[in-house]
Structures are given as C-alpha cells and as structure tokens.
C-alpha cells in the first residue's frame, strides 16, 4: 500500500532519536513529497497494476478489473467452504445492494474466490443461487490458481490455509484463515475505500458508493 512510506517515516522520527537540522529538513521534504503524491492521486489508496483473466459464475470470461471500467465497483473476497465469515460479508453486501436499489445501476459487485483450487464456476454459481443472489450485477470470480493467487497477493490479501486433512477418498479438506476487506473502486479503477466485511455498516458503504466519483 502506498501509505506505508509515510508510516515508516513517522516511526523513524520517534522520540529519543537524536536529530540534526539536515535530517529534519529531509524528513519535512519527504513528507511534503508524500503529501503531493497523495494529492496527485486524488485520495486513491491504490490501483490494480495489471489485469487478470478470470471466469464468472456462469463460466464467462472476465478481464479484471478492465471489464468494470466506467462502473463503480464493490470488491469482496470469499470461498465456498467458508461457513461463517464469508457469509456475514456476503449478506452485508446484499444488504448494501438492496439499499442502493434504483440508484445502483452504475455499480457492479464482485466477489473473488480465496480458494481457486476448489472453487470452480459451478461451486460459485451454487453459492450465489443458494443465497438467492441475483447475479445480474454481482459476479463471483475464479480462475487459474496461479492467476487468482497473484491477484490476491497484488491486492495485499493476507490468507493462510489451515486444518489441512486428507479424508478417506484422499480428497484434501482445509479452511482458509483470511482478511475480510470490502473494497470500493471508482470508475477509473482506482481503489478509494476499504471496509471490514464482518462489521460492515450498509449505510456507510451505500453512502461511500454514492460519493464515489
């Protein structure tokens, strides 16, 4: 994330550290530079540096995020073996979507799998269908494991497989510990806001979507 240099800089200037004039001036200049960079980006907190070839829940090819340019985008991360957290997030997003009803024609919702190994198109379609989700403007994306993994890495998604077991038929069972961000992208593909899925307040998110340029 582009916020990091600022934090590092502030930490280096912590109490108890001997400073001279040059050091202070340099720090001030760097701060100014960071501020200018932030200003120049118009409050964006990140941007996808490349595009990814993915597939939606109906098996249609999707180039992420390019295919969503021109639309406001709400991105979340789920996997279909996730019993609790992902469903809390998905349910909260559905609430946002219903809240936007009528005013959300320019908004797309995207849930990207954290588990491309097991989440194929069918699993994602079932996941949506079982929850009565209308997939008209909400896509559930998967893809080649390497593609999805690099997307998740690029997006800074912290995750780790846990409780790995083999069952009688040799099939692997595991869950994924993961972060639960819900991220708002503007029409230009710049990342503007980030919420926590499990504590999502639908009013706040609907408002933030409304305010997106």
């Amino acid at each position: 994330m582009s916020k990091q240099p600022l934090q590092v800089l502030l930490m280096n200037n912590g109490p108890g550290r001997s400073r001279n004039v040059w050091e202070s001036t340099l720090a001030a200049l760097l701060l100014l530079l960071t501020a200018i960079l932030f200003w120049g980006c118009g409050n964006a907190v990140g941007q996808a540096s490349r595009s990814y070839q993915l597939t939606d829940e109906h098996g249609r090819a999707v180039t992420f995020p390019n295919d969503y340019r021109g639309r406001k985008l709400v991105v979340s991360y789920i996997y279909t073996h996730c019993p609790d957290v992902c469903i809390v997030t998905t349910t909260a997003i559905e609430k946002v979507r219903k809240q936007l009803a009528g005013k959300g024609d320019d908004v797309s919702f995207v849930s990207i799998t954290l588990d491309p190994r097991r989440d194929d198109t069918t699993a994602l379609r079932q996941y949506a269908e079982l929850r009565g989700i209308d997939t008209q403007n909400w896509h559930f994306l998967t893809g080649a494991e390497s593609t999805v993994d690099s997307l998740l890495d690029d997006m800074g998604l912290v995750r780790r497989r846990s409780f790995i077991e083999q069952n009688e038929s040799g099939r692997e069972t595991y869950f994924i510990d993961h972060d639960d961000p819900v991220v708002l992208w503007d029409r230009e593909g710049a990342i503007r806001d980030r919420f926590k899925g499990t504590t999502l307040n639908s009013d706040d998110v609907a408002q933030a979507i409304h305010e997106l340029p």
Binding site: T80, H81, C82, P83, D84, V85, I87, V88, T91, E94, K95, A123, Q126, Y127, L130, R131, G132, V158, R159, R160, S162, F163, E165, N167, T173, F175, D177, H178, D179, D180, T198, T199
Partner: protein, 161 residues
C-alpha cells in the same frame, strides 16, 4: 490440529462418562427435572453446498444448578459437526474448534451467532437450501439427548423454530 481424531477422542472419553453419569443420576432425579436444565432456542442455519459446509446458530442455555456438557452432535444432514469459534489473529479471521466436551455452567449459555460461535456442519450429504429443515441430535452429559429441528435461512431473515 486434527478435528476428527479430536472428536473420536472426545467420544471415547465422553461416552463412558455419560454412562456413568446416567447410571448414578437416574434413580435420584425425576426425568423431567434432569432434562429440564438445558434449553435450545432460536436455532437456524445457513445454506450450504453438497459436500461442503453450513453453519448453525442459536442459544443453548443451562437453567439448572449444575454444569452440563455438550458431548457430541449428530445429524442426518452431515457426518461431522463441531463447535467453532471465530477469532481474529495476525490480521486474519480464523476458525478455532472448541474442545469436546463443551461445558455450560449453571445459569450460563452457549450463544451462537454469525461472526462469533457456530455449529459447523461439514461434508454435507446434500445441499441445504433456504427453507430446508435440518435435525440435530445433541448429547449432553446430564440432560441426555436432545433433538432440534430448524430451518435454513438468511441472516436478515432468521426463521424461528
């Protein structure tokens, strides 16, 4: 950690204990009282895909004067059911299996809600859809076997039993 072996171990330890408790408890207390301590309310579950998982929520309360323990849970819907807790660690949300038996102190309850504690139904025999009914058989050390039937629903729209 291996949940299945933990479950098997718990059962090995728990079942003789249950037999022992039943043997010494039965003559002293009338049936109604003995099972009156535990109530299970507000149960509902989330949809789940065949072979995958589903979560169930609700409250198991101990109104008795002695601690009681949840020893095992079984269901025709899934071969493996555990009590899980969500914890936040190292910036990640993780599921942690609660050790069997799950002890409920007198006057206390096991409250299960999304994002907190859940009953985890694993390797579902078939998909659970909105409106489907699920039966669980919960075994308590003192209260004995309890059967609950509940519906699959959405969080915003929790069906009551």
């Amino acid at each position: 950690m291996n949940f299945r072996s933990q479950l098997a171990r718990s059962l090995r330890l728990g079942l003789p204990l249950l037999a022992l408790l039943a043997a010494c408890g039965a003559p002293e207390q009338p049936q109604g009282h003995r099972s009156g301590g535990i109530t299970i309310t507000g149960m509902w579950g989330t949809p789940g895909i065949n072979g995958r998982v589903s979560a169930a929520y609700g409250t198991i309360a101990n109104h008795g004067t002695e601690p009681d323990s949840l020893i095992a849970i079984s269901s025709p819907a899934a071969p493996l059911i555990e009590v899980h807790q969500m914890v936040e660690q190292e910036g990640m949300l993780r599921m942690r299996g609660m050790k069997w038996p799950v002890v409920i102190a007198p006057g206390d309850s096991l409250a299960m809600a999304p994002g907190g504690t859940h009953l985890m139904l694993m390797e579902l025999h078939q998909s659970l859809q909105l409106g489907d009914s699920v039966t669980l058989r919960l075994s308590f050390a003192s209260a004995g076997q309890r059967e609950v039937r509940f519906q699959i629903g959405n969080q915003q729209n929790k069906p009551q039993n």
